[in-house]
């Protein structure tokens, strides 16, 4: 029972990692850019929800979509103003750029007087409730995380499988030039992908907020989503979620069964082993460059 309990809380945590990793993978597939700002976008999303609920007085059902939409707009804007002019520069410059973005985002939030330096709780309607199923004690917050992740994955699957937009995104991620020749507006799509990734990050932030707290440094959890993305294979959307779940469960179990200190680095140990054994990840594509 203990084991099952740990696995469930690991899954909930893993869903958060998976959602952030999903953002990385979306951006990576579309623009070959790795965004280190994803964790900070998540933090901004959580703060957006907080502002909408406590300061603007929005009800819960209105605050959540408005925070997500606001973050999606931030994502589109970021791509247009900052990322697009530097595309084509070495990948590492762009990584540094997103690190800079993360710094600015975190700093700006910290600079807001009275809000930025405090930790807050997000007043969600399902706060601190538990369900007792047999001997299991299920935390409703964690159940909401899992359910929302499943729903979101279904939505994204439908988007990429059935909608014209999603298919165009797939095309441009496979071969930008060919997609452009087929009349797909690649640049606009890149902007939309950033918007989508920021929206997903905002959802992750809103889901994480009731479990932990809302504060300016919560974005550092985004660094644990990198292992998730790598374990799943960096270019694979289902891989990101599966990788996140693996990392979450390993972390939860090692926190209980292994000596103190292993919980924080379990994710990194897993990813190092993975990189040595299977560098392409579980679902990664294996491609060789032909000269």
């Amino acid at each position: 029972m203990q084991f099952l309990q740990l696995v469930i809380s690991g899954i909930a945590q893993g869903c958060i990692y998976g959602l952030i990793a999903l953002g990385f993978v979306l951006i990576y597939k579309a623009t070959e850019t790795v965004s280190f700002a994803q964790g900070d976008l998540m933090m901004l999303g959580a703060f957006g929800g907080l502002v909408a609920m406590t300061m603007l007085g929005f009800p819960f059902w209105l605050a959540v979509p408005s925070a997500i939409v606001a973050m999606a707009l931030v994502g589109v804007l970021t791509e247009r103003v900052i990322i697009r002019p530097v595309l084509g520069q070495p990948a590492f410059s762009i990584v540094m750029l997103t690190i800079g973005l993360g710094y600015v985002g975190r700093g700006l939030v910290t600079m807001i007087p009275n809000i930025g330096t405090e930790t807050h709780t997000l007043p969600v309607p399902y706060k601190d409730q538990v369900w007792n199923v047999g001997a299991l004690v299920l935390n409703v917050e964690q159940m909401v995380v899992i359910a929302s992740t499943v729903a979101l994955c279904g939505g994204l699957f439908a988007l990429f499988r059935y909608s014209k937009l999603g298919i165009a995104m797939q095309a441009s991620s496979q071969n930008q030039l060919a997609a452009y020749y087929m009349g797909i507006p690649v640049k606009t799509l890149n902007g939309l992908v950033w918007g989508l990734a920021a929206g997903v990050a905002a959802i992750a932030g809103l889901l994480l907020a009731p479990i932990t707290f809302v504060h300016a440094n919560m974005g550092f959890i985004g660094l644990k989503a990198f292992p998730a993305a790598v374990v799943g294979g960096f270019g694979s959307l289902p891989g990101a979620i599966v990788g996140g779940l693996i990392i979450g469960i390993v972390e939860s179990l090692s926190g209980f069964y292994l000596p103190e200190g292993f919980k924080d680095i379990a994710a990194y140990i897993v990813v190092l082993i993975m990189l040595v054994v299977m560098p392409n990840g579980l679902f990664g594509e294996k491609l060789r460059k032909k000269v």
Partner: protein, 358 residues
Amino acid sequence: MRFIFKTDYNQDIRLAKHGGHVFWYSMLGLFLVAAPWILGEYMLAQMTFILIYSIVGLGLMLLAGFTGQFSIGHAAFLGVGAYTQAVLTGMGWPFPVAIAVAAGLSAAVGVVVGLPALRVKGIYLGIATLSFGFIVEEVFARWESVTGGNAGKSVGSPDIFGWKADTGDSFYFLCLVITVLCTLAVVNLLRSSTGRAFVAIRDSEISAQSMGINLSYYKTLSFAISAALAGIGGALYAHQIRFLSPDQFNIIQSIDLLLMVVIGGLGFIHGAFLGAIFLIGLPQAISAVKDFLPDAIGQAPGLKSVIYGGVLIAFVMFEPMGLYGRWLKIRTYLQLFPFYRKGMFKRQKSFQKSDRLK
């Protein structure tokens, strides 16, 4: 405008290309030697920090700027060097032996990290080094019998077979000598065949491989040298800061080091030094300007990170060659005056290169 007519190969690889170099570097040398008498105690301590960070920057520049391998966990090597030095000098070892062991141990750790680097590329390497950095930081915090854990560990002053560098001035000179030696070593390395193999790997792995360069050997070598330099920097850092704790070697420090080489100018030796000056000077500049800003901005806790991030974004967007690149442009402008054209340094329009197909 100076035209140099090269008549033999030795002239081509000479360190000082012409009289101007000799003159200006001698002036710089004179200034550095005279610095303890010119600068106050506080400024001298900052100069020492700049020298220490330059050594680390040289190592990271060699790895990132010349071999094209990125490490987002370089603070770990810094930490290995610092803790080795702290433990060994604590046991009474003389400074030169301790720093050699610190460099060697860092290099050995660098080889261990370099091994996955043979299999992974680009962002995977970044994530591998990032993970490694986190693990090492945790080891520093947990291995309390050696590192003192989160309570920290104090370090004495360097002892070179009886001569103690326990004042600010003497430690400055010690750092200066080591920095000059490291710089000469790196510059020499880069004009040798090894250095050119590094640059070839940076520019294209496939063409380097087809020219007969052993990729895995040179990549591991680059990691080892880079880590050794970081270890030397870390050893000096331990003596300068006198108190080590694991959070000095966290991800923020690693990102600061990267920021240093990117802002200094990737691919230029000078960039490591300019970056170190920038990294040490920026907090001073911020605290100097702070008082003139309105309180709501000047006293806000997040100001520093906004400025760091903003500067980084501005450099990548508008001056990808960093501070040294800016200086190159100014110099060319002056040399060619009035014939400088706007697009002279514009790189060829590059298209999105796919990392996935490497």
